[in-house]
């Protein structure tokens, strides 16, 4: 798999896919997309990077252990649900704020954070599995 062309293109392709995955994640509430799809796209990006250039650069690139990322995602999802406690509404109730950042009204919500949690959980899990399998391939 480690052909020259693939190895050269893979980092750029992966980067592009990761950016695209974030785009898909953020638009998910109103257009097709969301945490699951975004997460899968990002995970495939990292898997491709791993196949092309080996696992070590990928691990260095994402810095955290992928399983930590996944756990962080689950925690973020849970925490986003728990914010509602402070407002006296049931667990997982969506809460919205519209702060004005740099003259643009941005819709922020617990729901968004929850979706980001899903994203991280999916990315982390699948990346860790894919990397673990690729890693053993190199033995």
């Amino acid at each position: 798999m480690q052909t020259l062309i693939f190895r050269t293109v893979a980092p750029f392709l992966s980067a592009l896919m990761v950016v695209f995955s974030i785009f898909v994640l953020l638009r998910g509430h109103n257009e097709p997309g969301g945490g699951f799809i975004g997460g899968l796209i990002a995970a495939s990006a990292l898997a491709i990077y791993g196949i092309a250039c080996g696992v070590t650069p990928v691990r260095r690139a994402i810095y955290f252990h992928p399983m930590n990322i996944a756990s962080f995602g689950v925690m973020l999802g849970g925490a986003a649900g728990m914010i509602s406690i402070f407002f006296g509404v049931p667990f997982m109730t969506g809460l919205w704020v519209y702060p004005n950042i740099l003259g643009v009204e941005v819709a922020l919500s617990t729901v968004l954070f929850f979706d980001i949690g899903v994203y991280f959980a999916v990315v982390g899990t699948i990346t860790s599995v894919a990397l673990a399998l690729e890693e053993r391939d190199e033995i």
């Binding site: 495939s44 729901v111 860790s128 391939d137």
Partner: protein, 791 residues
């Protein structure tokens, strides 16, 4: 009855259980003297139950309780009439003495606390059993006595004989309990009542019911197994493996009497029919004779007592089955008398064993001087057992002959049975009370002397009770016997018999019995040898049968397990999917729910068919692929076809996800498959392939028909409409699918991402478990096996 009083009764009923919890702690601090404290619990119960006497002797009943499972009309309730009260008094009174006795008998035993706990638990179960009103309460307590007696009989669990006896008791009585449950449920469905007190007036209705016979047999199955009626008697003598306090308690007043209690309780309901008056005397009479004959053969004091218990139970069942007024009075008197003298004699046997070190009657003698108090108690109990004045047993036996004496052949036959039985019991009683104590002093393993107060207190109290109840018979009758007999008979009954014998047939029969008894006693050794050789000639008995039964059960279950669980995954899968196919197809065919023939869809589009055909081609290719690459690629093709289907039918989210997942699956599958040199082709013989194929086609067909049928019915769109309507106004999202996932059903999704993460952790853990093999290059061929053995 007020709420407070009901509460007190409830606490009283729970008291043994509370005491059972406290017992180990108390015993740790007070050692065997904890018995004094613990015996307060049964004593309190005794006093509380005695407090009901004014009400109960007036013919009333005390009842109370609360609702337990209201949906099914199941209540936790109690109903205390003369019958229940007498039993409760016996259980708690003898229970208190047994607890004390156990403290002396098991003094210094390392598990004394546990023993107290078990015996108090058993007491609680037994007490609950005799006062229970609701069927379910009765059944639960009934099984609880089986379980606690299992613990008690198997107390000395390091011996195999103990374990066997415990298991035997559990299997026999627990199995009988199941029959009882079936019987009670049947009575419930026959009458619609769930309480004994409500059932009692419905006797005529039950007896006229076509299912009466079935209910009767089921109930009798329960009662006979518990009360050790022939041929289910074998568990009782084996239960003598238990420490003596257990035998004294279970086999005098409690466990084995539970069956008799049940028969007496249901006498007004099930009794007074030809079946009842045939089955009960026949089984009871047989048990009486078999029990006494087997008792003659024994030389072990406890075993002799155990077999006479069997015969006494037979006598009680026989009398209950007779159903006449005198018979019931006799049964009541004999039950009370038996509880007292048998409890006493068991304790005496235990005391002799404890002090002399053996309980083989042929190795004992001349203990009179060493153990005078014990001897006195034993003698008193033996006199009562033999039915001689001035003890309560005499009243019972007189009443028995009153009851049986009637000028029909049926009655004469049973009179003879009773005479033989009573005569032999008299023999055993005196063999027990005289042989170890009289005669020349025999050297015993231990140097015998009178035991501590804890050991002789129980026998003496019981012997005295047997004497006092006889002397003060009018009082005893008024408060104990008459109310109980009334409850059993279901009508007002007054017992009048006293120590002053009336000249007549009963007295004559008593004299015949005594003469017969004395004759046998003189030739006891010869009788013992005769019975032994007879049993030797028969060879097989129910006890051996039990072993064979258990053996067969283990072998049967083993071969069934072998057949059902051969340890082959493909067999499990075949069975599972065959069941799935049946579950899908059979109901549809059976209830005519097959879909109607679907009409050809109106607006078909060419590209949709193309996608489906590509998918089918992929499926076929997976099946027949000969090499890895083809299989993986074909798998991808069918996955992408599914993704395209989602795309075509307005599910972009699903389509994207499916594309990504298929891609990733193919990648990781390729990663594994290329490494392991796995080949996807089938290596099975054609016969197996055809069977699998048929099962698979059955399932596929089932799912297809099921789906077509479902789509032909109206669809409930309420939930979908709700989500569609409120997606934007409430959740501010236009992509309804995403809104459902992260907002409406967010908690579900949280659970799902947790599952995904856990699966990831599990995968990493699996991959990281250290391989027992060295790297692949070395671990091929014979080297691998050697390495594995090292590790």
């Amino acid at each position: 009855m007020g709420a407070d009083a009901a509460g007190t009764t409830f606490i009283i009923l729970m008291l043994p259980f509370i005491a059972a919890i406290c017992a180990p702690f108390l015993t740790r601090h007070l050692k065997h003297n904890a018995a004094w404290v613990l015996s307060l619990a049964p004593l309190a119960i005794f006093v509380h139950m005695l407090g009901f006497s004014p009400v109960v002797s007036a013919g009333e009943a005390v009842s109370g309780g609360f609702s337990w499972i209201p949906t099914f009309g199941v209540n936790f309730s109690w109903y205390i009439d003369g019958l229940s009260q007498t039993f409760a008094l016996l259980i708690s009174g003898i229970g208190a003495l047994i607890v004390l006795y156990a403290g002396g008998y098991l003094k210094g035993h390392e598990h004394l606390g546990r023993f107290f706990s078990f015996i108090l638990l058993f007491m609680g179960a037994m007490l609950g059993l005799v006062v229970a009103d609701g069927f379910m309460t009765l059944f639960v307590y009934w099984e609880l006595t089986s379980i606690t007696s299992f613990l008690l009989i198997g107390f000395d669990h390091k011996r195999e004989a103990s374990r066997r006896a415990a298991l035997q008791a559990l299997v026999v009585t627990g199995g009988g309990g199941l029959a009882l449950l079936a019987g009670l449920l049947l009575l419930w469905s026959m009458t619609g009542v769930t309480e004994l007190s409500a059932l009692l007036p419905l006797g005529a209705e039950v007896r006229a019911h076509p299912l009466y016979m079935v209910a009767l047999i089921l109930v009798l199955g329960g009662a006979f197994s518990k009360s050790a009626q022939f041929p289910l008697h074998f568990w009782l003598p084996n239960a003598m493996e238990a420490p003596t306090p257990v035998s004294a308690y279970l086999h005098s007043a409690t466990m084995v009497k539970a069956g008799v209690y049940l028969l007496m309780r249901l006498n007004p309901v099930l009794g007074d029919t030809l079946a009842w008056e045939t089955i009960l005397p026949l089984f009871g009479g047989t048990t009486l004779i078999v029990g006494t004959l087997l008792a003659i053969r024994q030389t072990d004091l406890k075993l002799m007592l155990a077999y006479t218990t069997v015969s006494s139970l037979g006598l009680l069942v026989m009398l209950t089955g007779f159903g006449s007024e005198h018979a019931i009075e006799a049964a009541v008197l004999y039950l009370v008398a038996h509880s007292m003298f048998k409890g006493c004699l068991f304790m005496v046997a235990g005391a002799i064993d404890h002090e002399a070190g053996t309980r083989d009657v042929t190795k004992l003698g001349g203990l009179k001087a060493a153990m005078p108090i014990t001897f006195a108690a034993a003698l008193a109990a033996a006199i009562s057992m033999g039915g001689l004045p001035p003890f309560f047993g005499f009243l019972a036996k007189e009443e028995i002959y009153y009851a049986l004496w009637a000028a029909s052949p049926w009655a004469i036959a049973f009179t003879v049975v009773a005479i033989v039985g009573n005569g032999l019991m008299l023999v055993i009683g005196f063999a027990l009370a005289l042989k170890p104590f009289l005669g020349p002093k025999v050297e015993t393993p231990k140097h015998a002397h009178e035991g501590p107060v804890l050991l002789w207190l129980g026998p003496v109290v019981l012997a005295l009770a047997g004497f006092l109840t006889a002397i003060l018979s009018p009082l005893a009758h008024r408060f104990i016997s008459s109310p109980m007999a009334s409850a059993v008979a279901g009508e007002e009954t007054a017992i009048t018999i006293s120590l002053i014998p009336s000249i007549g047939m009963p007295l004559a029969l008593s004299i015949v019995t005594v003469v017969f008894g004395v004759l046998v006693y003189r030739g006891l050794d010869r009788a013992r040898a005769g019975v032994a050789s007879l049993l030797h000639a028969i060879g097989w008995g129910p006890d051996r049968g039990f072993d064979q039964f258990m053996d067969a059960l283990v072998r049967l279950s083993f071969s069934v397990t072998r057949r059902v669980q051969p340890g082959r995954l493909d067999v499990y899968m075949k069975m599972t999917f065959a069941m799935v196919a049946l579950a899908l197809l059979v109901p549809m065919l059976r209830y005519g729910e097959l879909p109607s023939w679907p009409s050809w869809p109106e607006d078909t589009r060419f590209h949709e068919f193309a996608v489906l055909l590509i998918g089918l081609a992929g499926l076929v290719a997976v099946l027949i692929a000969k090499d890895r690459l083809t299989a993986i690629v074909s798998l991808g093709i069918q996955g992408f076809a599914v993704a395209l289907v989602f795309m075509l039918y307005a599910a972009p989210d699903l389509s994207f996800t499916q594309f990504m997942v298929e891609t990733l699956s193919v990648v990781i599958l390729a990663l594994v498959m290329t490494r392991l040199r796995l080949y996807p082709s089938d290596h099975r013989p054609w016969s197996e392939r055809i069977v699998s194929g048929l099962i698979a086609i059955g399932c596929g067909l089932g799912f297809m028909l099921y789906l077509i049928r479902v789509t032909q019915d109206a669809l409930d769109l309420r939930l979908s409409e709700f989500f569609t309507q409120f997606s934007k106004p409430i959740a501010h999202g236009a992509n309804i699918v995403n809104v459902i996932l992260v907002d409406f059903r967010g908690t579900d999704t949280l659970g799902e991402i947790a599952v995904v993460t856990i699966a990831g952790i599990a995968i990493l853990a699996l991959l990281r478990v250290r391989t027992r093999r060295r790297p692949r290059a070395e671990a091929t061929g014979a080297g691998a096996i050697a390495v594995r053995e090292e590790a």
